[in-house]
């Protein structure tokens, strides 16, 4: 396990691998429709809640369940060894094999065996270990690491596998997949029949009966657990469930989430040793269960990270992750891949290494939507990052920006030029900005940078006390400094409704960019500043045209300000009064809107924060349809555009590839207009389209509504809204 890996270089190589790219994309595209089909008739949310509740409860009593499991398993005739760490687990198996004179071992796929580095250790003792899961066997022959948790050899083509088989097995092999599979069957058969020990993992361990549960498709698991006279089960503490009832929901979600199957071909539940055939006739086999801690008990006691103990290792999070499908598990993870992998690595291996892997997480929250155990993976990755920053100071990203971008004029100006080019229609000369947007907040303490908009929103805003009820506008950096016209659109719509729109001047960055860099301190500071600023005028509503800012105001501020009871109370009030623009507009004017365009084809991109943090996706579409736009849904409308705040600067290569995919989805609709509700998405998509020479209109929903106000006014018609 290489802590010294150069992850950036590896990511770059993965991005340049067309085979990996095609394979992972084909898989991720097929996954969701297949999953939906497998889930037909299943109340997924309810089931996920149940799994989450069961696991939460079990985490709180993990040692007690482990005791019970051990007791019952012993009663059933199994040997149980509780391994505190990886080394002791390996040592137990190694010693057992040596004592029994075992030379040949067959294994079915087990993540935990990779976690503890078992194969290597057994090989060092002169024991031949054969992986029998087809993908794992291919990887073993190739001397590689798995690229996917469920499909380890997904990065290899059939031609590569055929070449590998020919080279390693010294037999001529065709490139038909069925032929390759037949070769594997033939080759592995003697290993199964001759092995003296079978090693498996377990999908669950049942405390009330001492049973272990195994799900497989190929049938290798059945052979590994049936033929050799010794069976070793490696199982982590997180897999322990209380009783058989708790197995049921697991069987319902695990195959559906992992491989989009209603159930795997084989489900085996083993309780104690069974009979086995030996040279000297039938006799009871030896069943050894190694119950492995290796950081799990510590994790289960951690107030934040115990959440990761809920993970059932289905890999749904990876299957829907826009980063994972670009670089795969060989780069984005160690033994365990993706965002959840970074958290598990942090506890099972090294905090620092885990945090580094976690840097690939975009924070788009798509995984949360599909997790059958309701693990908030991005929050955990973030918590890991914050811990890392608290312990070690600035993360690599901030270092990168501070030490690489700033001194490198070309790079820095390149970034700014890109942004300022987007602003060409409104930027005629460059001034300076007072507070720097986004990740440059760190920078802005020391220097000023050219403004992106000729005049920031805060200088363009015309104060007026006309109006009935007060709406305070929270602009956010991008609206304030880059897209003031979006802020003006919001103001024009709300004023048209007869509301008094105010702009509390003391407001600044919402703090999320700092938070995402692991800098919670800055977030707390900005939260306090903004909450005080917004509360001063006691507005009925607070509106923002940036969903990320809305998440900060609605969700983060009450949490980060909770240590100060008084401030927390204010933050909660602010939270309940805060609206994203589309939702507020929808609420206030849905009945008053009339069409202003006649079936103009358009498409809508869901921002990550809008859809998954705020849960808003229908409202903007309804507004746009009512205004007369004919919406053509793009493929994957709710997949991240790749902006991800600082991600754009952290991993420009990945960000760009994610964006290209988004642009392709947009172009496929054939429409001329893209609507978004997030200025970050707008920056990314507009910039990407321009760079690609594709001239599509990209606008904020507020701008569509504001334009309708203008149309109605110019035509002296009855108010449109």
């Amino acid at each position: 396990m290489a802590v010294s890996r150069d992850l950036r270089a590896e990511a770059k190589r993965a991005l340049a691998d067309p085979v990996l790219f095609a394979a992972l994309h084909r898989f991720s595209e097929a996954y969701l429709p297949a999953r939906d089909e497998a889930l037909a008739g299943v109340a997924f949310e309810e089931l996920a809640e149940r799994i989450s509740a069961i696991r939460q409860h079990n985490i709180s009593r993990v040692c007690q369940l482990a005791d019970m499991f051990e007791q019952r398993a012993l009663e059933s005739g199994a040997c149980v060894y509780r391994a505190p760490d990886a080394a002791s687990a390996v040592e137990y198996v190694q010693k057992l094999a040596l004592e029994r004179g075992i030379r040949a071992v067959v294994k079915s796929k087990s993540m935990i065996s990779e976690e503890i580095g078992l194969n290597h250790a057994l090989a060092m003792s002169g024991i031949q270990v054969t992986e029998t899961d087809l993908g794992e066997w291919i990887i073993q022959l190739a001397g590689q690491r798995p690229s996917h948790m469920v499909m380890p050899a997904i990065h290899m083509t059939r031609e590569e596998v055929a070449r590998l088989f020919s080279d390693r097995l010294k037999i001529p092999v065709g490139t038909q997949v069925s032929e390759l599979v037949a070769v594997a069957r033939r080759q592995l058969r003697s290993h199964f029949l001759d092995a003296e020990m079978g090693i498996t993992g377990a999908n669950a361990a049942v405390a009330s009966t001492g049973s272990v549960l195994l799900l497989t498709n190929e049938g290798n698991g059945r052979l590994v657990t049936t033929l050799p006279p010794v069976h070793v089960v490696l199982v982590g503490y997180e897999k322990i469930v209380a009783d058989m009832d708790e197995i049921v929901p697991l069987l319902q979600v695990l195959p559906r989430s992992a491989t989009a199957q209603r159930i795997t071909s084989y489900v085996s539940i083993i309780t104690g040793p069974t009979e086995v055939e030996t040279r000297n006739g039938r006799k009871p086999k030896e069943l050894h269960i190694v119950l492995i801690d290796n950081g799990r008990v510590k994790m289960s006691k951690h107030p934040v990270f115990k959440e990761a103990m809920k993970c059932i290792r289905c890999s749904a999070c990876l299957n829907v992750c826009p980063v994972y499908r670009l670089i795969g598990g060989q780069v984005y993870g160690d033994v365990y891949a993706g965002g959840i992998g970074s958290v598990l690595t942090a506890f099972f291996h090294s905090k620092e290494y885990g945090a580094r892997i976690g840097e690939f997480c975009l924070g788009c929250r798509r995984c949360v939507q599909y997790c059958p155990a309701k693990v908030d993976i991005p929050e955990l990755v973030l918590a890991l990052r914050q811990e890392h920053v608290a312990a070690r100071g600035l993360p690599a990203t901030a270092n990168f920006i501070l030490r690489k971008v700033l001194p490198d004029k070309g790079l820095m100006h390149g970034l700014l030029r890109t942004a300022s080019r987007l602003q060409a229609p409104v930027t005629t000369r460059r001034g300076f900005i007072r507070h720097l947007p986004l990740v440059f907040h760190e920078v802005s303490r020391n220097m000023s940078l050219p403004a992106l908009a000729r005049q920031p929103f805060r200088d363009r805003f015309e104060h007026s006390s006309v109006g009935s009820e007060t709406v305070a506008l929270f602009a956010g950096c991008l609206v304030d400094f880059v897209y003031p016209e979006i802020g003006e659109a919001v103001v024009s719509v709300l004023r048209r409704l007869g509301l008094c729109v105010t702009f509390p001047e003391v407001q600044s960055c919402c703090g999320i960019p700092a938070y995402y860099l692991g800098d919670r301190k800055t977030l707390c500071m900005l939260a306090e500043q903004n909450v005080r600023a917004l509360a001063a005028s006691d507005p009925r509503w607070i509106v923002t045209a940036c969903p990320t800012c809305a998440v900060a105001l609605k969700k983060l501020y009450p949490e980060v300000l909770s240590p100060d009871a008084g401030l927390a109370l204010v933050a909660r009030t602010i939270s309940t009064r805060t609206w994203d623009f589309a939702s507020l507009a929808h609420r206030l004017i849905r009945d008053k809107m009339k069409p202003v365009v006649d079936g103009v084809p358009a498409t809508y991109h869901d921002s990550c924060h809008m859809k998954r943090s705020l849960g808003v996706s229908g409202e903007p579409r309804e507004i746009l349809r009512t205004l007369g736009y004919r919406l053509h849904e793009m493929k994957e409308s709710d997949v991240c555009c790749g902006f991800g705040g600082s991600y754009l600067l952290k991993h420009p290569g990945i960000s760009q590839r994610i964006m290209n995919r988004k642009l392709d989805c947009i172009k496929q609709t054939g429409v001329g207009t893209v609507f978004v509700d997030c200025p970050g998405c707008l920056l990314q998509i507009r910039g990407g389209l321009e760079r690609a020479g594709v001239y599509l209109r990209v606008e904020h929903t507020a701008q569509a509504l504001a334009a309708s106000v203008a149309v109605s006014e110019s035509k002296h018609k009855e108010c449109v809204i």
Binding site: A23, R26, F27, A30, S76, T132, D133, L134, G135, I138, M151, P152, A153, I154, M156, T157, R158, V161, V177, V181, A184, R185, L188, R189, F192, L193, T209, N217, E218, G219, N220, R222, L223, T225, T226, L227, M244, D245, I247, V248, L251, Q252, T259, R262, I263, T264, S265, Y266, V267, S268, I269, I270, T271, G272, P273, T274, E275, V276, E277, R282
Partner: protein
């Protein structure tokens, strides 16, 4: 109601790529199995278990000139077909459920390339929860519970679904029904 369950079971099992046949009597069942094995001649089979139905199947196969091998790992590996009975079927998923604590039961269902599964239609239950609770409520719960849904499969190479990687590539289920004229259970009573 149970008729509906059986239909659901058949549909689910077929969706999992199992072949499902119905047999109205044990004699029809044995004839159907003999007929199925015609395609594989010369054919050898291993039969797990020694209940009445298994005995009838063995008799019929021997009479039809099928070589019945004793059950151990090398013969099961050599056999073309493995035959055994299951105790329950889960309608929701098309899953066959058996107490496979006996070594033989697992050998015949996992080593040969073709697996013939016999299931009494009375054993069809709606879901996994029912199957599991029935199995583990028994005074002697299974040491090895086997649940089989469709043939052995893999998609590890280029995601192409391929059957029969380590287990049977063909799973043929015979649902033994006895909703006929009362003669259906001709073989199930001594």
């Amino acid at each position: 109601m149970s008729g509906d369950l059986i239909e659901v079971f058949k549909e689910s099992a077929r969706a999992a790529l199992a072949e499902v046949n119905e047999s109205q009597s044990v004699s029809e069942l044995t004839a159907q199995i003999v007929c199925l094995l015609e395609d594989y001649r010369p054919v050898s089979a291993v039969v797990g278990g020694d209940g009445l139905i298994e005995r009838k199947v063995k008799e019929a196969l021997v009479a039809a000139g099928v070589e019945i091998l004793p059950v151990h790992k090398c013969s099961a590996e050599r056999a073309v077909v493995g035959i055994c009975c299951y105790e329950m079927g889960v309608a929701e998923t098309g899953t066959l459920v058996a107490d496979a604590s006996a070594y033989d039961a697992r050998l015949v269902s996992s080593l040969p390339p073709v697996h013939v599964a016999i299931l009494d239609s009375d054993g069809v239950v709606p879901d996994m929860a029912t199957a599991l609770s029935r199995m583990y409520m028994r005074p002697q719960p299974p040491a090895y519970l086997a649940m089989v849904t469709g043939p052995s499969r893999t998609a590890d190479i280029e995601r192409e679904l391929t059957l029969g990687v380590h287990g049977p590539g063909r799973l043929v289920v015979f649902l033994l029904k006895h909703d006929g004229d009362g003669g259906a259970r001709d073989g199930s009573q001594p």
